[in-house]
Symmetry: C2
């Protein structure tokens, strides 16, 4: 491990928090989720903690059956709108937004991220997803077309072409395309703004984009899917992955797999920052943390059980708090290396460590690692996986906002700093800088590199 | 005219300014167009002047032939991203963004504007366009489909259905849908968040939207097209129009036409705020203004002539500075009342007032009224059309940013205030409030109103 290896921390803001009962906690305000003041405060807290970025997950639907009563604050606000609002009230924090390749046009996505990269002076990332949420597909139908979503393979084919188009558009202006010579009246440099003339399986896009290359060259690309298609997309393109692992062996296996694939695509083995989700219930002491955890679990009652049942596609009556998972689930073959489906992650963990349902639910929230305890315990949990080389950092998923994030920034960040694991202040102005990634050169840089490689 | 009638002023920010040579003016910085500090300063200047709104025109293309050298700063930044960035650094200014119905999905557009209405606390408007820019269409092709754009009729059919879907989505949550009862755990009120189940000619959208109704009920709707299809869309839906008139008789005729159509659609005659573009070259004195105008015209040279030739679809050799327009153009039939095409507007003006090309270009920039002169002259020009009842206000198009806007706010706004024509401070917090428009009630309000009308 290189001594220069740096820990990276993002915060994944899911409305009122990761715990299913977050909005009911005394410290939460269930009306916050559309309030600009709430979001601005959160972003400033994250920036105070010198976190790499604020991450917004997304799906363009309520993610539930039609006309089912709302159980909790939804992922309400459009991520790009929200991140753009936060861009002008922060100066260093990275801004990562999820946008699906299934419901958008590549020209619009390329333009929006490039615009926000300019307006944030280089702090933007696009988290590329293909959307498996069936309710989202029902919001983007065409009259006369069959309803429903295409298979994963087809979604990822479209995603790969979509990303190709977006990257070509980001490169449609050379870095020095704007001449702006007042004396002669020559605004653009001749030959420096070019069409892309893309003709593919899904899209036909002429280009060029409407605006100059952005501060980062390309906005950072994140990827979040654990399927083979998602891993391949990550290995080919991504600068970072928002992975999901519930145990260190799984995390090590995932990292080895992704790094091998990255290498196979001709990129450096460590080109992709691996940042799985890390959920936590924190107190300033162990006792406080345990009390907070009990309060939240009591508020959600059997809600966590129902949630797990849904994730495993079993009836809730098959799950007993103090018994193992049903034998037929545990007896299923352990999933192959690359698969990181939500079901496999928890079943693998329960099988390997012989956990009861209660013990399992103390270890994961949905498919993300859960840590309950003191600031020291959480710092240890972060250090363990980082030092083992399984991760480059974590995407933090506090139980309840804003207090969970405030506790982390005030109590865990200082410990990580004292251990020499985390920055004391920002040393860069762009998200690429925070992540230790270079600015992407323009097409002439790529041409120069190609010439070098083939020469 | 009601004594309560209020003047409304927006500012249309077109990169470095409306004048073709704006970016070459000594006071302009041609690199500003992607700089957040520039845009934030402009928005704050507009808010200092208690303007109703900042308006962003848009087309998702460079609006020129492929690989033609760039002549001036383009409309570079995505309007929604830019307005979202400005939302958190302003508190009263309305934010109007142009988005085409031809290149987007209604679910995404509904969600973005509702999100920004929340984050701006009720200051957002959508300017609905259908995009006649042929270069934009080439950025949104589908492999295997014929290239090129559909006819205007088809574009407006899609636009009408698009707006219907967006409005239905904005109404998919009742105003009191969020119960957020921590004690019982009931987050949403049963029956208050509903699908829309739209099945139309173009779209199939289930809904509901991902978020509660926004502060304005519906974001404000603007419309900018002068064709019959555009006028009909405006009369049916719009709260405001960004019209284009070069002379008072044309403006009166347009207003009469639009108000009759609005009435025919069962809406109050004055339901739509009419705000044509008003371009100006201003100085603190008449002499300063004339000097600034000469400087700009000298910088653009024959550029204005070429621009007019393009607009009229004639060869530039057919236009002579000190002669009238070619006779065959002037001999064409005067266009029918509703048509406000770019060509008709300038030909009608030249014919009616017997103008040479030079005189014509002193009266219009593209198809918008141009005023050159002192603050008093500009205030007079505003008052004349407003008092004649032809307009509710103007969408200001300064020659050069930021100085043109600063001159307006510092020198013209005080005159309009002293004449009792314009607000001294904001008296509302939402754009609907500034424009004198009520909040749109939720579907139960509409049901109650329907019951009342039919009862």
């Amino acid at each position: 491990m290189s001594p220069a290896r740096e820990l990276h921390l993002g915060v994944n803001v899911l409305s009122d928090g990761m715990h299913p009962a977050a909005w009911r906690h005394p410290a939460a305000d269930p009306l916050w989720f559309t309030d600009p003041a709430y979001w601005i405060d959160l972003a400033k807290t994250a920036e105070r903690g010198t976190l790499d970025a604020l991450f917004l997950a997304d799906s363009p639907s309520l993610f539930q059956k039609p006309n089912e009563p709302l159980g909790a604050p939804p992922l309400a606000l459009d991520p790009i709108v929200l991140l753009s609002t936060l861009a002008s009230v922060t100066t260093r924090l990275g801004l990562i937004g999820t946008v699906s390749t299934s419901f958008e046009e590549p020209y619009n996505v390329a333009r929006r991220f490039a615009s926000l990269d300019h307006l944030s002076r280089g702090r933007v990332a696009w988290n590329v997803v293909t959307s498996s949420d069936p309710y989202a597909w029902n919001n983007f139908g065409r009259a006369g077309e069959a309803a429903g979503q295409p298979g994963r393979h087809q979604r990822y084919r479209r995603a790969a072409e979509f990303v190709d188009v977006v990257r070509a558009l980001w490169d449609s202006w050379d870095d020095d395309a704007v001449l702006a010579d007042k004396a002669t009246g020559a605004f653009g440099r001749i030959g420096s703004v070019n069409t892309i003339d893309h003709r593919g399986e899904y899209f036909a896009v002429d280009g060029p984009l409407t605006l100059p290359r952005s501060p980062q060259g390309h906005p950072v690309l994140f990827q979040a899917g654990g399927s083979a298609g998602g891993l391949d997309l990550a290995a080919r393109y991504a600068d970072g992955v928002f992975a999901a692992q519930a145990s260190l062996p799984d995390a090590v296996r995932y990292a080895d797999d992704l790094r091998a694939r990255t290498l196979a695509h001709g990129r450096p083995r460590d080109a992709v920052r691996i940042m799985p989700g890390l959920s936590f219930v924190l107190g300033s002491t162990e006792e406080e943390a345990q009390r907070r955890n009990r309060e939240l679990n009591e508020l959600s009652g059997d809600g966590r059980l129902a949630h797990l049942a849904g994730q495993l596609s079993v009836d809730v009556s098959e799950l007993k708090w103090d018994e193992p998972l049903p034998a037929w689930l545990l007896d299923g073959a352990e999933s192959a290396g690359g698969s990181q489906g939500a079901r496999d992650i928890v079943v693998n963990l329960a099988r390997r460590e012989h956990l009861t349902v209660r013990q399992l639910l103390d270890r994961v929230i949905t498919w993300h690692r859960l840590v309950v305890g003191s600031p020291e315990r959480l710092a240890d949990a972060i250090e363990e996986w980082f030092v083992a080389g399984a991760v480059d950092g974590f995407n933090l998923m506090p139980d309840v906002f804003p207090s969970g994030l405030e506790l982390f920034v005030d109590h865990v960040v200082p410990i990580l700093r004292d251990r020499g694991l985390f920055r004391r202040e920002y040393t860069h102005t762009t998200l690429r800088g925070h992540l230790g990634l270079p600015r992407v050169p323009d097409r002439r840089g790529d041409l120069a590199k190609s010439a070098l490689l083939s020469g």
